[in-house]
Symmetry: C2
Subunit: 199 residues, 2 copies
């Protein structure tokens, strides 16, 4: 069985891939809209983890619509969820993809699909969408991360990750300057995976 | 790291143990209140799966209180959830236990702890409570079960499982006869694990 794990280079998507590895043929998949070289960062991290990696580039209108949403809302939640849902649908439309996974944890609020959205994607597109960390709290995830990964942590503006936030931020900077980003995005700690620990 | 997996002999708790096996030292733990020989069934299945197994016997007042609840409610949900929460607390009070897991799936409604109850147990008792199948829908679970387990399925009254329902049913039969059980419990398909498939 094959699984395509949505991969940002952070600890949660990396750990998800590691948890699935004994049971699936894992490929890491990163979404990019070509605003920043997020694919290079992700590909390098994927190689260090030992998983095959590929990029997908959904239609740019998704990023543009998310950009409109975030400016109207003044906060990122709905825009990030919108991108996430569309990226999953994009991947699910690939006839070679049957299992899609991501790094959503029990305590995550963004990105997060509603159960009805998940079932709709599974039923319409004939895929399984799985979240290996959904039953794990933050402290349990941290113990597993510490055992299996070497990470660096830093504020979100200093860590280059291949997540949706990175390119949304860039689009806002290009159009409105960095001050607008600070208005919209709360400063929070991000992780970037350096390498895999031999367990 | 050690994990204690709550084990009924069914496919969900068996698969949960298998998913955790590459990352934890797994022990299977079955709760029994000595009304039926559920421990023997569970121990035999655990041996076939290749995991160490032990029984726990929480205070009988838990089963009695659940029995009162189910007769008053006329349906099993609250009583089953009550037993499940108390069994997890009982196990979490063991100073040698740090990770507790169960076989709850994404689409399960019973037993199910509220997030606030989970966090309360984790914070008060210093354990991690994890549900490896929480991010997997029914169809995804079925694919993994088919790959890793040989199971038999049958109606809940015909399959002897080591779950909470089994002894609650027995207590109702002893006090009110089998007709009362059929009133309270919907007839549903249960699984019992026969053996492990070499993947």
């Amino acid at each position: 069985m094959y699984v395509s794990v949505l991969f940002s280079g952070g600890k949660d998507s990396s750990l998800s891939a590691i948890l699935l590895e004994p049971f699936f043929e894992v490929e890491l998949v990163t979404c990019g809209f070509s605003l920043l070289p997020v694919g290079e960062v992700a590909a390098e991290t994927a190689e260090r983890l030992g998983f095959p990696h590929r990029m997908i580039k959904p239609d740019g209108s998704i990023l543009e619509k998310a950009y409109d949403m975030i400016l109207q809302d003044g906060f990122p939640k709905n825009a990030i969820n919108f991108i996430h849902r569309n990226v999953i649908e994009h991947l699910a439309s690939d006839p070679n993809v049957s299992f899609i996974a991501d790094g959503i944890r029990r305590d995550d609020r963004v990105p997060l699909l509603e159960l009805s959205q998940i079932r709709s994607i599974e039923d319409r597109l004939g895929v399984h969408y799985v979240c290996p960390l959904k039953g794990f709290g933050r402290a349990a995830v941290n113990e597993l991360v510490q055992k299996h990964l070497v990470i660096e942590e830093g504020l979100s503006e200093d860590i280059l990750k291949a997540d949706y936030e990175t390119e949304l931020r860039e689009m806002i900077i290009q159009n409105h300057g960095p001050e607008k980003v600070r208005e919209i995005f709360p400063s929070h700690v991000q992780s970037h995976v350096i390498e895999r620990r031999n367990a």
